[in-house]
């Protein structure tokens, strides 16, 4: 099992992590962060392989990954 952490305030809601996660572990939030973006959120902890693709593609370096 692996773990990722999304920095909600750095996230700009670009959806790239959602798009590229091979396991579909990430979704977009409904709420807004301080800047007014809708951030993404880690939803399927159990499926995450820690492949770090989400972190690789995140333009805002908002994701950290543990494995």
């Amino acid at each position: 099992m692996a773990e990722i952490k999304i920095d909600r305030e750095r996230c700009k809601g670009c959806e790239l992590c959602v798009h590229f996660c091979p396991k579909g572990c990430i979704e977009m939030e409904n709420g807004y962060n301080r800047k007014g973006y809708q951030p993404s959120t880690f939803v399927k902890r159990d499926k995450c392989t820690g492949c770090a693709i989400c972190a690789l593609v995140c333009p805002d370096v908002a994701i950290e990954v543990w494995r």
Partner: protein, 244 residues
Amino acid sequence: MQKVYSRPKGLTDAEFAYCAGCFHSVAHRMIAEVMEELDIIDRTIGVCPVGCAVFMYEYMACDMIEAAHGRAPAVATGVKRVLPDRIVFSYQGDGDLASIGTAEIIHAAARGENITVIFINNTTYGMTGGQMAPTTLVGQKSTTCPSGRDPKQAGYPLRVCELLATLDGPSYIERVAPTNPAGFNRTKKAIRKAFENQLEGKGFSLVEILSNCPTQWKMSPIESLKWIDEHMTKTFPPGVFVDR
């Protein structure tokens, strides 16, 4: 559990001010990772462009100089000539490098200046509001070619790698398209090689990154990556153009 991805030391803590999904940030981060991996953060001097990446000095953990629009290769040359044992890179957009700065990049390349150039081709002038760039595709709309670039009026896109590859000066020129994880890895590798070459004294290296501009293209980030794959790579095929 072990941490397998964390913020590279080559970046400061500052949040990127780029638009959501803009790949300037991706390029910055990869340069930062390479600086960290090669352990050169404290002897690298970066030269920022005038373009959306004009604030790059806020993000990179190394010494930085803000160049005038288009002149980054000349500024980098000035630094490298007087400090040949430091690592010097410049970072430029397509307006900066391929329009106003055409002479400077060509002559830095022709001189085989021992610097690393990261070239962000997003087919538009992001910062100033989406005007036509030298790399704007035929038919592509912009705020100064509102009905699409008409080659009869505005000519044809400039292919920088192909242009520079005719010179004897460059040691390494590659074009990459970070539109998927494999492309990301390829991009990172190219940037790394462009810095390693400088460490080895091989001379001029340039990596052209096919990048996006979701804002001026009026697309979502995901659509923008698709657009790169489907349209940009036709005019700008990725590949290694010089490696010697």
